[in-house]
C-alpha cells in the first residue's frame, strides 16, 4: 500500500464542513443546493470506498458514489421509521459516517497522530 494523494480526503472534509455550517448555522440559503448535492452524492461513500484500495480512481469514485447514495437512502429511511425525520439529525448521522471513514484511513491517521509519512509498501490491490 503506497501513500496516496490527500486531495480526496481534503475535498471530502471541506464539503462536510461546508454542508454542516450551512445547515446548522442556517446561512447562505442560496448556496445550499451547490453545497448539499456534492456532499450527498460523494462524501459518505467515498470516505469508505477509498479504504478498499481498488485498482483505479474511476472505480473508486464509482463505488463511492453508489455507496453514498445507498448510505443516504438507508440512513434517511431508517430515521423515518424511527420517527426522527429532522434534517439536522439526518445530516448528523451522515457527517458521522463520513468522518468515521476519514478517521479509519491509515494515511490520515498517520498524518494526524504520528505526523510522519507512511513507509512505502507493495501494491495490495
Amino acid at each position: 500500500m503506497t501513500r496516496r494523494s490527500l486531495t480526496w480526503p481534503a475535498a471530502i472534509l471541506l464539503s462536510t464542513a461546508a454542508v454542516s455550517v450551512i445547515t446548522y448555522a442556517g446561512i447562505w440559503p442560496s448556496a445550499r443546493p451547490v453545497v448539499a448535492v456534492p456532499f450527498l452524492v460523494l462524501c459518505p461513500g467515498l470516505a469508505w470506498a477509498r479504504l478498499l484500495r481498488v485498482d483505479n480512481e474511476v472505480n473508486t469514485v464509482m463505488l463511492g458514489v453508489a455507496l453514498s447514495l445507498a448510505i443516504d437512502t438507508i440512513v434517511s429511511t431508517a430515521l423515518l421509521y424511527a420517527h426522527q425525520p429532522s434534517v439536522q439529525v439526518n445530516l448528523g448521522a451522515l457527517v458521522a459516517i463520513t468522518v468515521g471513514g476519514l478517521l479509519a484511513d491509515p494515511d490520515l491517521r498517520q498524518l494526524q497522530f504520528l505526523r510522519r509519512p507512511l513507509p512505502e509498501r507493495g501494491v495490495a490491490t
Partner: protein, 629 residues
C-alpha cells in the same frame, strides 16, 4: 508476447504467434496525431449546433409520432455528426479515452436533456406523483404504509425528501426536470465498469457504452425508484464481475478481461467489497419492488453456473429481501397477495399483456410501437451476431450471455402492469450492448478498418433514429404545459382538504402536493368499475356523489385528452365530448379554466335544475371553496 503498432499501442501477439497486424490504415502522420483533437472539436461543434436549434422547438406542435415530428434538421444533423465522429475516433488506436468520454457526455446531454430545454414543466405524470410521495415525507416526517405501495417501499422517496430538505427546495419536483441527465451520467460509469470486466479492448468498452445510450429507449431514467435502483443494480453487478469473477482467462488472441489484469485482492479488501455489495443491495430492497429480484436473479445465475466466487452473497440478499417483505411491506402485501401471485407462471399471459395488448392507439402511435418492437428485435439480433463473432475468435462470454438472459424469468413472475418486458430489456441492455459492440471489434487484434467504421456509423445512426421515435414517441402525452400546471395549482388552492378530485385519466401533473390530503379518482377507473367501455356523465355523477359530504371537483386537461386519444383508451374525442356535457350540466360550475385545462365543481345541492349558460368561473380568489352552499 506483445508488439507495438504504428501508433505506439501495445498489441498482443496474433494467434499464430506472429506479430499482430497494425490496427489502422496509415494516415498522414500530422492528421493522425491530430485525430482525437479534431474529433473533440467536431463533438463541441455538434453541441453548439444542437444548443442553437433545440430552443426553436415548439412543443405544442408535437404530433402522435412524438418529439421527432418537431426536431429541427440541425438537431438531427448534430446527432448524426456526433455518431460519425465517435465511430471515426474509435478507428485510431490507442483510443483517446478523454475524447471518447467527451463524446459520451455530449451524447447523454443531447439525447436525455432534450426535453428539459423544450418543455415548460417536468414531464411524466408519474414524476409528479413521486414528488408528492417525497413531499409527504418532508411534511409529515413519517411513513404511513396504509396509503399505497409507495409507502411500503419508501427508500427512494426518503432520499428525495433528504435532498429536498438539505438543498432547501420548496418541492421535490425541483429535482425531477434534469433527473434523466444525472441518472444517465451515473449509468455511464457503471456500464463502463461492467464492460471493462469482459475485455481490455477500449474500443468495445466505449462503443458498448455508446450502444447502451442510443438503445435505452424504455425511459426508466426519470425521477423514480427504478432509475436509482437500476444504477445500484449495475454497480453491484460491476463489482461482482470485476472483483469476484471466477474465471481469469486470457483468450487465444490475447484479450483479457480487465479484472484479470488486476492482482488478487487481499482478504480484507474482498470482505470490504462484499460489505459494499450488501450495503448497496440493502438500499434497493426498501426502494423498489422489482429491482432486488432482478439483482438476486442475476447473482444466482452467476453462482449456479460457477461464474463468481461470491457464492454465499445471494443467501444474504434473499434474507434481506424476505425480511423486508415480511415486516415492512406486509401492509401492502396482505391486501394484494392474490393479485400479485395470480400472474406467477403465466408466461404467455404476461407476455401478451406486455406486447399485443400494447398494440393499440392512433395509427401514428402504432407506428411508434412497431419501431420499438423492430428496434428491440434488431438490437437482440445484432447481439446474437456479436456472440457468434466472439465465439469465432475463441471468446466464450458465458458470464455476459447469462446476465443478458437472467432477467427473462421475471416475465414468469408478473406482467408488472404490462411493463415487464420493458424492464427485462433494460436489465439485459448493458450485456446486449457489449455483444453489439463486439460485432464490430470481436477481439483485441481486430483491425479498425474503414469498412468497420462505416458499418458502426450506419448502425449507430439507425439506432439513434429509432431511439428518437421509440423513446420520445409518447411525448405529446408525456409533456405538460405551464397552463395545465397553473390550473392544477389553482385546484389545490380552492379545494378544501378531504375533497374528491376527479381527472379524466391518470395523465395529470397532480399529487406533487397534498398527496394524501384529498381523495383522487380517474374517469378511466369510474368507467371500469361500472363495467362501461366509455365514460358516462351518469357514472361520473354517481361516483362524485358517493361521498355524502365535502366538495367534489373534476379536472380536465389537454394532456388527459391526448392520453386517452393517442393510446386508444377511448375513441378520439370522447373526453372532449364529456367535458362539453359537464360544462352544459346545471349540476356543475366551472370554477377555473385556461386554454389547456378546466376545473368543475359538483354542486350537490342542485337536483337536475336547467342549464344556466351564463355560468361564470366561480372561484376568482385563492381561498378554498365553501362546499356547504
Amino acid at each position: 508476447m506483445r508488439t507495438e503498432d504504428r501508433t505506439g499501442a501495445s498489441l498482443p501477439a496474433a494467434p499464430g504467434g506472429g506479430p499482430a497486424r497494425p490496427a489502422a490504415l496509415p494516415l498522414l502522420p500530422t492528421l493522425e496525431s491530430a485525430w482525437p483533437a479534431l474529433c473533440a472539436v467536431v463533438a463541441g461543434l455538434c453541441l453548439w449546433l444542437w444548443a442553437g436549434a433545440i430552443g426553436d422547438v415548439n412543443p405544442r406542435q408535437i404530433n402522435d409520432i412524438g418529439l421527432a415530428s418537431v426536431l429541427p434538421g440541425r438537431v438531427l444533423f448534430a446527432l448524426i455528426l456526433l455518431s460519425v465522429s465517435f465511430c471515426v475516433l474509435l478507428h485510431r488506436r490507442p483510443l483517446n479515452i478523454p475524447v471518447a468520454a467527451l463524446h459520451l457526455g455530449i451524447l447523454i446531454f443531447m439525447l436525455y436533456g432534450m426535453t428539459s430545454f423544450i418543455e415548460e414543466v417536468p414531464r411524466f405524470a408519474v414524476s409528479w406523483r413521486h414528488a408528492g410521495v417525497a413531499d409527504y415525507l418532508v411534511q409529515h416526517g413519517r411513513v404511513d404504509p396504509k396509503i399505497d405501495a409507495y409507502f411500503n417501499w419508501p427508500g427512494f422517496f426518503a432520499l428525495a425528501a433528504l435532498f429536498t430538505k438539505l438543498t432547501g427546495y420548496k418541492n421535490p419536483i425541483s429535482l425531477a426536470a434534469d433527473a434523466p441527465i444525472y441518472f444517465n451520467l451515473l449509468y455511464l460509469g457503471a456500464v463502463a465498469m461492467i464492460i471493462r470486466s469482459a475485455t481490455s479492448d477500449a474500443r468495445v468498452v466505449w462503443l458498448g457504452c455508446w450502444i447502451f445510450f442510443i438503445s435505452n429507449w424504455v425511459g426508466q431514467d426519470y425521477f423514480s425508484p427504478q432509475a436509482l435502483s437500476y444504477f445500484i443494480h449495475l454497480v453491484i453487478l460491476g463489482l461482482l464481475l470485476t472483483w469476484f469473477r471466477r474465471e481469469r482467462y486470457r483468450s487465444a488472441d490475447g484479450d483479457v478481461a480487465e479484472s484479470a489484469l488486476l492482482p488478487s485482492g487481499t482478504g480484507w479488501q474482498r470482505v470490504g467489497l462484499l460489505a459494499v455489495a450488501i450495503i448497496l443491495f440493502a438500499s434497493i430492497v426498501p426502494s423498489h419492488q422489482l429491482t432486488p429480484f432482478a439483482t438476486v436473479g442475476s447473482v444466482i445465475a452467476l453462482v449456479v453456473f460457477r461464474r463468481t466466487t461470491a457464492r454465499g452473497l445471494y443467501v444474504l440478499m434473499l434474507v434481506l429481501l424476505v425480511t423486508w417483505l415480511s415486516f415492512a411491506a406486509v401492509d401492502y402485501l396482505s391486501g394484494h397477495i392474490a393479485r400479485l401471485t395470480s400472474d406467477v407462471g403465466n408466461v404467455s399471459g404476461n407476455t401478451t399483456a406486455n406486447v399485443s395488448e400494447r398494440l393499440t392507439g392512433s395509427p401514428d402511435h402504432l407506428f411508434v410501437i412497431r419501431i420499438r418492437l423492430v428496434m428491440t428485435a434488431g438490437l437482440w439480433g445484432l447481439a446474437l451476431l456479436g456472440v457468434t463473432r466472439r465465439l469465432g475468435r475463441g471468446h466464450r462470454d458465458l458470464t455476459f450471455a447469462l446476465l443478458a438472459m437472467a432477467p427473462f424469468p421475471l416475465l414468469g413472475l408478473q406482467g408488472y402492469g404490462g411493463e415487464m418486458l420493458l424492464r427485462v430489456y433494460l436489465f439485459s441492455l448493458p450485456f446486449v450492448a457489449f455483444f453489439v459492440a463486439s460485432l464490430f471489434y470481436p477481439s483485441l487484434t481486430s483491425r479498425s478498418s474503414w469498412t468497420t467504421t462505416g458499418l458502426a456509423s450506419l448502425v449507430s445512426i439507425a439506432l439513434l433514429g429509432s431511439f428518437l421515435f421509440a423513446r420520445y414517441g409518447n411525448e405529446k402525452v408525456n409533456q405538460f404545459t405551464g397552463q395545465e400546471l397553473q390550473v392544477v395549482d389553482r385546484l389545490y388552492k380552492i379545494a378544501p382538504k378531504g375533497a374528491l378530485l376527479v381527472a379524466g385519466s391518470v395523465n395529470v401533473p397532480w399529487r406533487s402536493q397534498g398527496y394524501n390530503d384529498y381523495r383522487y379518482l380517474t374517469l378511466t377507473k369510474v368507467a371500469a368499475d361500472e363495467g362501461q367501455s366509455l365514460p358516462r356523465l351518469a357514472d361520473l355523477l354517481t361516483a362524485m356523489r358517493r361521498p355524502r359530504d365535502g366538495c367534489a371537483f373534476v379536472l380536465l386537461s389537454r394532456s388527459q385528452k391526448t392520453y386517452t386519444d393517442l393510446l386508444g383508451i377511448w375513441p378520439p374525442g370522447t373526453l372532449s365530448r364529456l367535458e362539453q356535457q359537464i360544462f352544459s350540466s346545471p349540476l356543475f360550475s366551472r370554477v377555473y379554466s385556461s386554454d389547456d385545462a378546466a376545473i368543475f365543481r359538483l354542486d350537490k345541492s342542485v337536483k337536475g335544475a336547467p342549464d344556466d349558460p351564463s355560468k361564470p368561473d366561480v372561484a376568482r380568489s385563492n381561498s378554498p371553496v365553501d362546499c356547504r352552499r
